[in-house]
Amino acid sequence: MEKHTTHFAEQLEQLSEMIMRMGGMTEEAIGKSVRAMTNRDSTLAQEVIDGDLEIDRLELEIDDFIVELLVRQQPMARDLRFLATAMKIVPDLERIGDHAVNISERAIELNEEPALRTLVDIPVMATRAQEMVRGALDAFVQGDPETAWSVIHMDDEMDRRMDQFFRVLLSHMLEDPRTITRALRLTFVAKYFERIGDQATNICEQVVYMAEGKVIKHPRVQKESRDEE
């Protein structure tokens, strides 16, 4: 069959680039927010908070573009699945950006008090979170379900680390009540990373749908509807 590159194909490419740019910005925000914490650099933290405006702006721009493509092209099959997926993952990316802002806010608060030694696990969680976001975006752009699945499996590790970190913080608080405020702030930070992991997982579930037309999220609901049939 004869292939031709359409204007539409170019627009889809352009949309991919915009989403990658947005993803890159959120990934960078995660990295900066963690450095703001480990280097006790509140200026950097403020940079992340201010930078979120750009991510939000890009989200609106992408939303408009997707709706325009739906109206003008009335896409079918993989194009339709690509746009439906894009529409669902962009809010996830925006939320990831928000979490980086939350981490930065906690960093500013923590930087005003003496340092806690228990920060060690935070950079590891941050690195994992970044890897998951990057992996999810690669999977999306390449339409590659295998990469998506490997990111989904990383989420278990993320959950384990968060539980472990929470126990460490708890022992600190029991030992020395003066650490409670800081330990609570750190609990939040761990939770934000865990949420970023969840959001990357959401993206990957959408990617599997996009690539294979197969819905993998909410396995319990799906099992119920299978049983009913």
Partner: protein
Amino acid sequence: MAESSLKPMSSEVIEPPVTTGSAPRQDETGSGTESDDARGYSEEVEFTAADDPAVNPKFESPLLSVKNLGLWYGNNQALHDITLDVPEKKITAFIGPSGCGKSTLLRCFNRLNDLVDGVRIEGDILFEDRSIFDVRTDVNALRKRIGMVFQKSNPFPKSIYENIAYGPRIHGITSKRKLDDIVERSLRGAALWDEVKDRLNESALGMSGGQQQRLCIARAIAIEPEVILLDEPCSALDPIATSKIENLMMDLKSHYTLVIVTHNMQQASRISDFTAFLYLGRLIEYQETEKLFISPMKKQTEDYITGRFG
């Protein structure tokens, strides 16, 4: 071509000799004689969906069942080994690029291709489990049960009333009261009654294009067929008239089995329950409509519906 030999059939849904527009017929049969290379499709299709249930669903008691159908116009093979079931009281759509054989296939169902010189058919089509090609099949009776609506609306140059009454009358109904009933019921069935009830005796040729097409559908309904074949029924209509016809088709499927050929993929996706994609005279994929347009199984289907070739 066939028009010259086309006698006024018992079924009025066949276009009458007077107003026969040759355009729709030549559209498909003409392209069958055109070389595929000239259209830019040089690559052979590697696959026919005949036996793979994943891309060709089987129904428990299909109303129409196409079995390994092959069709030649002279030396040109227009259909290759088509096997496909048409379920009852559903809308089944045939899509594909010009010359893919979708109209040719549609015309087989009420044996309109018999009228084309040099046509040779292999395989079979079963209508309620009986071969439509059987020597004992009364073609006129078949066309009464399987009606057709064409791309170009073709009302008779008579009054609106006479357009509808013509078919029942040649089927032997003479009672004025009965004919009145049929005319009203058919026009209501085609969602046209309210628009024309005050001018039933005016010429049908004075109606708008959309009204004329609905009149043709009313005419088809008047003789109470079981199947209505529609060959690009909306291609000459504006979006409002199109929408009326589409709504009408959705209503009609509670009583009739509809098979529609359309170039308009959005239309197929809006109204049909099942969609078959044909390419170079072969059935590539046949699916529930939603499945075909959201996640088709075959790459050729995907390439066609996303506009990546042609």
